[in-house]
Symmetry: C2
Subunit: 473 residues, 2 copies
């Protein structure tokens, strides 16, 4: 059971019912690929956010850009909302049908359209997931590094400007999407970007769409940058006497320009959770989980330098995972932290924060978040892509106790305000969705929000593209 939509968002619940004529047209066009079965609608009307809202009125399984365009043209004609759906792993309520409408399921658009190994580029349909992509291109010696944990779709990752564990070295979706095929709010198909690595040809429509959370158009194809699989990879864990010591180690790694590929923090709670879930025996103390990519010599040198820095801050118990199997085991455990953490408190829902701050402010922000949660007796754990200044504190909330949910929101609010005060952001990688609309106003200011609204009105005059997300129009 999730929490109902918070009071300040209730005005969004102004359903825009789908006329029977539109549904009939959809059913005639898509046959069994258009479903109004309640189970299907409910599956498409929730995500990993702790919020409940009514499900969409129908779900259409699209198999091509032309399918998507056909749905959107009808939605435009009848002024009915559409919500793109990839794998349902959003944490911020992106998929909730707060104004009703049609869920456009893109999971069947799972074809790799073209891979150009010699150019380090690939074009995929939006429903391809990141793991599928990496499996299918393994033979080329290349990989796609962006790794948000969940096996999300590349369309969804583009829509939320996702990043994750490898971003410190390889950037985020912002840096790695070269071009898009987009169905606009009027149902037209446009292409943005090229396969060139850089361009200064006109407005950066690609970057405008990346992170727009389905509110400006539906992305149906994505062209991505790929990278050569490193000659050598080495992963290590290191245990620290405090969160502060682990984060200060990270800060120094970044300030020295060491090209570390992954640098993840787990607090003692998170380590305990993954130990239980994955039957590991990691020391239950604040830990950095790091990975180095490069030539054999460069990886060795990076690792030695990092070990020196860690030792200065009291880091100990350096454990190396050099075989692919050991590395996979560690990273799988890290990626299980979300589910492992939730199992620490049976029946709980997770309220996850997502602040990202300038690196010099990170130790204070993480420590303050940890101390505040502990002081309030709020069950929690912390994981962080600390090399980027991004961390998540997950509050484990009993959904049957409103006070717990309110406490989590209050703690989150304090945390976000601290991040904004030090010129950080309320969302490092999960997006705004429904959950962070208030925070975005505090962060961006009314001038920038007004500009976002102006763009939205210009590109989606009937407000049919995932309405009610990012800001209230």
């Amino acid at each position: 059971m999730n929490a109902p939509l918070p009071a300040h968002l209730l005005p969004l619940l102004a359903p825009r019912p789908m006329p029977a004529e539109m549904l009939a047209t959809l059913q005639a066009h898509f046959g069994a690929r258009c479903s109004t079965a309640m189970a299907v609608r409910e599956q498409h009307g929730r995500d990993e956010s702790p919020i409940d809202a009514p499900p969409p009125e129908a779900v259409v399984y699209c198999e091509s850009t032309e399918d998507v365009a056909a749905v959107v043209r009808l939605a435009d004609q009848y002024a009915v909302p559409v919500i793109p759906f990839g794998t349902g792993s959003s944490l911020e309520g992106h998929l909730l049908a707060v104004q009703g409408g049609v869920s456009i399921d893109l999971s069947r658009m799972s074809r790799i359209i073209a891979v150009q190994p010699e150019d380090l580029t690939v074009t995929v349909q939006a429903g391809v997931t990141r793991m599928q992509l990496n499996n299918e291109i393994r033979h080329t010696g290349l990989f796609f590094p962006i790794d948000p944990g969940a096996d999300a779709s590349l369309g969804g990752m583009s829509a939320t400007r996702a990043s994750g564990t490898n971003a410190v070295r390889y950037g985020t979706m912002r840096e790695n999407v070269l071009g898009l095929t987009v169905v606009t709010a009027s149902g037209e198909v446009i292409r943005t970007g090229t396969r060139a690595r850089k361009s200064s040809a006109g407005y950066d429509l690609t970057r405008l769409m990346v992170g727009s959370e389905g509110t400006l158009g539906v992305m149906t194809e994505v062209t991505l940058r790929l990278y050569p699989l490193p000659e050598a990879i080495s992963a290590a864990t290191c245990t620290f006497p405090s969160i502060d010591a682990a984060v200060r180690t990270t800060i120094q790694i970044i300030q020295m320009g060491i090209p570390i590929a992954r640098c993840e923090l787990l607090d003692a709670h998170a380590v305990r959770a993954v130990n239980r879930h994955d039957k590991l025996t990691l020391t239950e103390a604040p830990m950095l989980l790091m990975e180095f990519h490069g030539s054999a010599a460069s990886v060795k040198e990076q690792a030695a330098t990092v070990q020196d820095i860690a030792s200065e801050y009291g880091g100990s118990g350096f454990q190396w995972a050099t075989t692919p199997e050991e590395r996979t085991r560690l990273w799988t455990a890290r990626h299980h932290a979300y589910f492992a953490g939730a199992q620490m408190k049976p029946g709980c829902r997770t309220v996850t924060t997502d602040t990202c701050v300038p690196i010099s402010q990170l130790a204070e922000c993480v420590t303050a978040a940890s101390e505040a949660a502990t002081a309030a007796s709020m069950a929690h754990y912390i994981v962080g892509h600390v090399g980027d200044g991004n961390f998540h504190i997950a509050y484990l909330v009993d959904p049957t106790i409103p006070a717990e949910r309110e406490l989590a929101e209050r703690l989150n609010q304090e945390l976000v305000q601290r991040a904004i005060d030090v010129q950080g952001t309320c969302s490092g990688e999960h997006g705004i969705g429904l959950h962070k609309m208030g925070f975005l106003v505090n962060e961006a200011g009314t001038g920038a929000i007004d500009m976002m609204r102006t763009l939205k009105r210009a590109l989606d005059p009937k407000n049919i593209m995932n309405p009610g997300k990012i800001f209230v129009l």
Copy 2:
């Protein structure tokens, strides 16, 4: 003497005269900082493009964001164009006052507002140039890598999404601008982005402004990423039997993921020009000029690997520049190529192309461009940021002979069409301006151009922000 505005752009020459009342208000507000002297107007009405247009009606020297906002509010009131001016180094006619109006000179906004070495960030006023920035932050051990050759302003570099020699390792302005202060078309001041390294908080207004060439707002402050000065730097030149061999060496370097920092091609004409201009004795054959950044061991390893690759393609005469003085001499010579090249044909104007293609297509594109120019007996030289797939062929045109200008345009057109055919771009780093508007339509397609126009109309309903650039409204 430049060429007049090409016939297809003549409709742009619809001046929107400034009412006397507006000029009087500007003069009352800005005193001597508002100039209508013809010499000042002419200086602000041209750039490094080969096109002539009438100068702006007035120039205002702004010293603050509030100054810029005051000019724009008046421009809004009277529906008169404004054109931001940094250093005047645009190659594509960005600064030309094709519809009259006021040039907003930002060169006095040359203050570094705040540098945060521990966060690897800096905030500057838009008139700060890249060399000034690097001089002023040298004591921090950090540097700003983006280097388009000219000592351009950071506002201008943001406006054209500039890049240059270091982009292969450090990215372009797209990746390195974290946030902006922008005066909108109504004269409001907004802030975009934060100092966090990444964010998924709302529409990416920063990336929308970067590359918008002054058509959506005037950037007055820019927050940038900085990088630690590498522990070791090494530069090398290597001579090749053909352009093809040099480019194929580059392609292999990129495909292997070697983190080369700079990888520049000069053809034999360009080498000859810099030899004469800078009194160097480089072998007058196709040459790669490379630079490696990293730890001492990593630089050595990268260089050895590259030397092996180059040898396979017949590269020879590897010359190392290990002292800062030698390196500076080489890179200064490279940056003089533009002026050195022009001196090969006294009185000429340079028509510079700027295509960027997927790396596998680069050898064919550069060779075809070279051969076509030679076959047409068009004086030219080639330089290229080949690690990114970006190269420039500069045609040296006698401005008194219209046929030469037409030939250069025809060659450019063929080159751009070839780039677009292989999914590349007509502009890697110089922007669209006046010169490439036709090419942009071919590249982006009418759907994407229509979306750009919609954005422009929404954010600048009176079309006062640098009108007549990027596309015809």
